[in-house]
Symmetry: C2
Subunit: 412 residues, 2 copies
């Protein structure tokens, strides 16, 4: 087995450019562009950030998106996306993408899941049909989707949980991490955008569609560049990068052990999973602070599933490089808007006659143009444009927040 | 009564620049910008073209939008919009707007409406509450909303209808047209963006909000221009323009009589109403062709509530200058897309693996960037982005169609 666990070629470069106490500002260089860190990754569950066209995400300077393997596996199916050249090409997004392993969705959306050493049997939340994810099949799915960064298949331990249960779950995640890595090393050449992999399953027309719609591609004068070509370097042998996930519940000692043993297996980056699962926020922070100390300084650190604008700043201060959360997009759909003056519930009647911008300190296309009164009207009238504009603003606020964090770290 | 019916000042100029048989290409100059005709007006019922931000409408070169008085009267209410400076400012749309009189919605959304000489009592489709529209109150509502072009209050005759019923309905519309015009002439100075009207009801902060979000305003270097200022000329006394509506059911003789008597009252433009109410398409065309002959050559002609892409070309050929229809936007929400190769139902499984653009001959931002496979996935997954992208494309297709018609007329 060891032979499969040799170190992978550099498909992901991580450069730390500045530090400030525990915080670091850097740059993640992926096959589909650079990502400035610390970064907040908007969630595009079904290959779409709900309501927001990709060109608007580019305008917001989104450099990396997250998509959910579980959802895409069910609809439209991994094979469909693979045959269309992978996620980048499928969703016309030339920049970096990260997929989760599906483990968290199996955990959170399936009351009837059944976990064994081999993997997890679960039922589709769409039609109740039965499915099975193993470290191998989840990794295979992620290779087919073709994100730049993919995640080892893990078990997200529930909260609260008995100590022995947490230990066993953590140990299972470690065994699954080894299997994920082994499968990845044996199959990573099969990523749809790897020019060296021309197996019989890759349709000859893949890579033919010329797309000139991307503002970025247009501004670079590269009309004709297709979305599935890696953009940096001239390395057709580039592959995806696999991250490991540290589990261990709310026990710092188990987190420490999980981190050390995950690092021994060896990954391109390390995620902290199993948080934001119902525990108090103070505990989340305590576990993050304790765990981050055991992660390598020279690899990206990804805290999964957080948080509020205040929290993402705090986690960046603790040395986290990557975060994702549905909060800005989901809150937007419920009319909850983040502003420099605090949270606003735009549905409130007090905004019906408010002619001012949503956030006077925000330069996004929504705040530059529309009034609170109009946004309140759209929300109260159930107009789809409410969701579109609210989501654009909330994402802008999160991205601005992270820009400010990076700037602050850069100043030292 | 005659004293109130004197001709109005020129707040609307209509220039015919080219003709080709019955068709004319021209220019409508409104207080909020020029509109090239023949024009298709997208419908923004509740002060929003469902799912499409105003900056994208500008990018599509939409020059005039339609909004529905009935819907805005119910939500958020005319007084709310008036106090916020009128529709242009409320929805951050600096270009031209037309509102209907509410008559058609009262007709189509209210089974329990009660028509009298005075007006119509109807129930809100939202909460069942009772309301009353008269020619005076409907005109008052439209002055409060502040569109550039407003419509006389009419009765839309049902189809089919007995000959005597059609005659009486037409006669009622004529009496209401006189009353609409009288009220308009007496109150037209009260439009919210008329600088000469500074009554006690106009809040002092109206006109203060400086908006720089409009691409157009930015490109013109006029940062600081607010949306409620008329853009053309230096005429602070500009008012709205009132159009009359020709009724008369499916009887060419009654249509002729309705046209002549409506013209006698005198309006800035003339609409053909009461069509597209269930009659066969051949009959619609016959009535349009017959009616248009009785409309003044030098005034804009507006055919209400039509049609398919083929039909809007045919009506333009008959000498119609303005049209509106929910078809492109409503069809988009149901996955029906108009293309240069015919209609496409994007929900069909045949598109699941189709890597090509929606319409290879379309240059819109959707066709430049996204594949049919992706659009099909978004629709099948019930993603909001499906509605956004589908609507942008369908509108683009309609606007391109009208551009081609204008070009063809220009060539003579």
């Amino acid at each position: 087995m060891q032979s499969a666990l040799e170190s992978q070629p550099m498909s992901l470069e991580f450069q730390i450019e500045a530090t400030k106490a525990a915080a670091r500002a850097g740059r993640l260089i992926t096959p589909h562009g650079e990502v400035e860190t610390p970064v907040f990754m908007p969630v595009g569950t079904l290959a779409s950030v709900k309501g927001v066209p990709q060109e608007v995400l580019e305008e917001l300077d989104v450099q990396i998106l997250l998509a959910n393997t579980y959802h895409l596996y069910l609809r439209p199916g991994v094979e469909q996306i693979r045959r269309l050249g992978g996620l980048h090409r499928f969703m016309a997004w030339p920049r970096a993408i990260l997929t989760d392993s599906g483990g968290f969705q199996v955990f959170s959306l399936n009351d009837l899941r059944k976990v064994s050493e081999e993997g997890v049997t679960f039922r589709s939340h769409l039609d109740g049909s039965s499915h099975f994810f193993s470290p191998e099949s989840a990794t295979q799915a992620q290779i087919g989707l073709g994100a730049d960064i993919i995640m080892a298949f893990d078990e997200c331990t529930e909260y609260p949980a008995e100590s022995e249960r947490v230990r066993q779950s953590m140990a299972l995640t470690l065994r699954w991490a080894e299997r994920s890595k082994k499968y990845f090393e044996q199959h990573k050449q099969e990523v749809p955008w790897n020019a060296n992999h021309v197996g019989p399953d890759v349709p000859v027309w893949a890579g033919q569609r010329q797309l000139a719609g991307s503002a970025e591609i247009r501004s670079a004068g590269q009309v004709g560049t297709s979305f599935d070509s890696p953009r940096t370097g001239s390395a057709p042998t580039q592959t995806q990068s696999l991250f490991g996930i540290v589990q261990g519940g709310m026990d710092p000692a188990l987190r420490n052990e999980s981190a050390e043993r995950t690092i021994e297996i060896g990954f391109s980056g390390y995620a902290i999973g199993g948080l934001s699962v119902g525990e108090p926020r103070a505990l989340t922070q305590e576990i993050v602070a304790a765990t981050v100390l055991h992660l390598p300084v020279d690899k990206p650190r990804y805290l999964m599933g957080v948080g509020t604008p205040e929290e993402i700043v705090e986690y960046a201060d603790l040395g986290i490089d990557m975060m994702d959360c549905v909060l800005p997009t989901r809150a937007a759909r419920h009319g909850l808007l983040f502003t420099s003056e605090g949270k606003i519930s735009i549905k409130q009647a007090r905004y019906a006659g408010d002619d001012g911008p949503l956030d006077p300190n925000c330069g996004c296309r929504v705040c530059r143009r529309y009034s609170r009164a109009y946004l309140r009207h759209l929300y109260a009238s159930n107009e789809v444009l409410a969701q579109v504009l609210n989501t654009v603003h909330n994402l802008s606020f999160y991205l601005d927040t992270m820009r400010a964090v990076r700037h602050s770290i850069g100043l030292g």
